[in-house]
Every structure is written in structure tokens, then in C-alpha cells.
Symmetry: C2
Subunit: 107 residues, 2 copies
DNA sequence: ATAATAGGCAAGTAATTACTTGCATGTCAA
DNA sequence: TTGACATGCAAGTAATTACTTGCCTATTAT
């Protein structure tokens, strides 16, 4: 499975996106802490986190019996480059050339 | 199913992303044209396109017996706002404050 | 030492998703 | 008008994914 595939698959689940949001609100949470806000068993959360880890969206660090989770936004940049910027570019170019034309430039 | 969910689910499949790429390379293709480049039956492609349409990533227009497909990049902007910009912002801020500090400003 | 806490592993089930086959309909060209 | 072409619809199967239950291990606190 390619990086991009892991990434999109990871983002394709509401529960996993919610986990990312929880980590955005407060980074470095343990598994149990994260469980508190999800209507799901601990195992469910564990499995979702594993998917997020596989996509490198979440990094972990062990502290004694606890497992701390950290948000890693870097892979999202990859999505931006490959899927947002690329697809928006033509539209943005069209808009800015329209803008220049309206302003009396040579478009 | 929320807009965001439709969108992420739509992007979570390699075949569908390939379809978007084909439409990026050349817009306004018919179903049969799109089929030529995918190792899949026409029905498979039809169903993937339906998912992309549900997510508003692809718009269609009928011309006689043909169905033309158009790429709509707008929903991608939504992903950028909600999932890329938001999550990158703290990192970008940290980078630019580091940059200012290195340049001798007040960070 | 022992009880409570934090988490891991594995198997099983339910639900969803991807893909196919077969047939039907509408459109166009000869 | 008939044959080829473009697409639609529906049911069925295979594959994947989400989620749960039950039990096990390691760490911490009393």
C-alpha cells in the first residue's frame, strides 16, 4: 500500500478524524484519555490509532505503562501538494489572470 | 453522511483517484473513454464515478447517448481549509517565528 | 504483595465496499 | 429500420473494514 493510500484511507473514517481533532485540541494524550471522548471500546480506538500511525499521522512514545500519542501534520502537506495545489492551480491561475484583466493589465 | 465524509471516502480509493487524474489530464471525457485506462469493467468505473459525483468532485453533463464528466476541484478547497491549513498553521507559525529569530527579529 | 490501572493480542462477527455478470434502454449511423 | 455503440439497472459474490469480547502482561500505588 502506497503512502498516499495509507494516508487517504486513514482520513476516510469519521472516528479517526475525530481522534486527530482530539490530538489537535490537546497533544500527547494517552490511549485511555483518548478513549474517554469516543463512543467506542478501547480496542476500537487502539485499532484506529494503529491506522493513523501506519499513515504517520500519529507518532507514539511510551512512558511507563502509558502510551502517549502525538499529532504529526507533515503527511497532510503531501496531500496538499499532490491533490489540492495541483488541482486548484489552474483555477487560481484563471482567477488571477481574470483579476489582472479587470484591472487593465495584459492578462 | 456528511460532506466531509463523502469527500474523504471518495478520495480513499486508488481507482477513484486515478479517475480524477485522468480528468485532470483531460476534462470532459465520456464513460467509455475513462474506461480505456482502467483495468476494470465499465460497471466498476460507473460505480466509482457515482461516488465521485456524490462528493461533488465530478460533475456530469449528458450529450445524446454520451455522459461527459468534468472535474470539480472546489471541494478539495474544503479539505484544505478544514484539514490542511488548520493542522499546518501551528507548524508554519513556529517555522516563521524561528525564521524571524534567526534573522535577528524579536521572534 | 496485591489490587488497580494501562495497554496488548487474537479470534470472531457484522457491516461496508469493490467488483462482476447479465440484461435492458436509449441514441446514432448506414 | 437494423446494427453498433453508450450507458443504466439489479442482483450476487468476494474482499475489506469496523467493532466487539475475552483473556493476558506490564506498571504503578497502597
Amino acid at each position: 500500500m502506497s503512502d498516499a493510500d495509507l494516508l487517504f484511507k486513514a482520513l476516510a473514517d469519521k472516528g479517526r478524524r475525530k481522534l486527530l481533532d482530539r490530538l489537535y485540541a490537546q497533544d500527547s494524550q494517552t490511549l485511555s484519555e483518548l478513549c474517554r471522548h469516543l463512543a467506542m471500546t478501547r480496542q476500537g480506538v487502539t485499532q484506529h490509532l494503529a491506522v493513523l500511525e501506519a499513515a504517520s499521522l500519529v507518532a507514539v512514545q511510551r512512558r511507563g505503562r502509558e502510551k502517549l500519542h502525538f499529532l504529526n501534520p507533515v503527511p497532510l502537506q503531501q496531500i496538499y501538494d499532490r491533490w489540492i495545489y495541483k488541482f486548484e492551480k489552474p483555477r487560481l491561475k484563471a482567477l488571477s489572470s481574470l483579476k489582472r484583466r479587470l484591472e487593465g493589465g495584459q492578462g
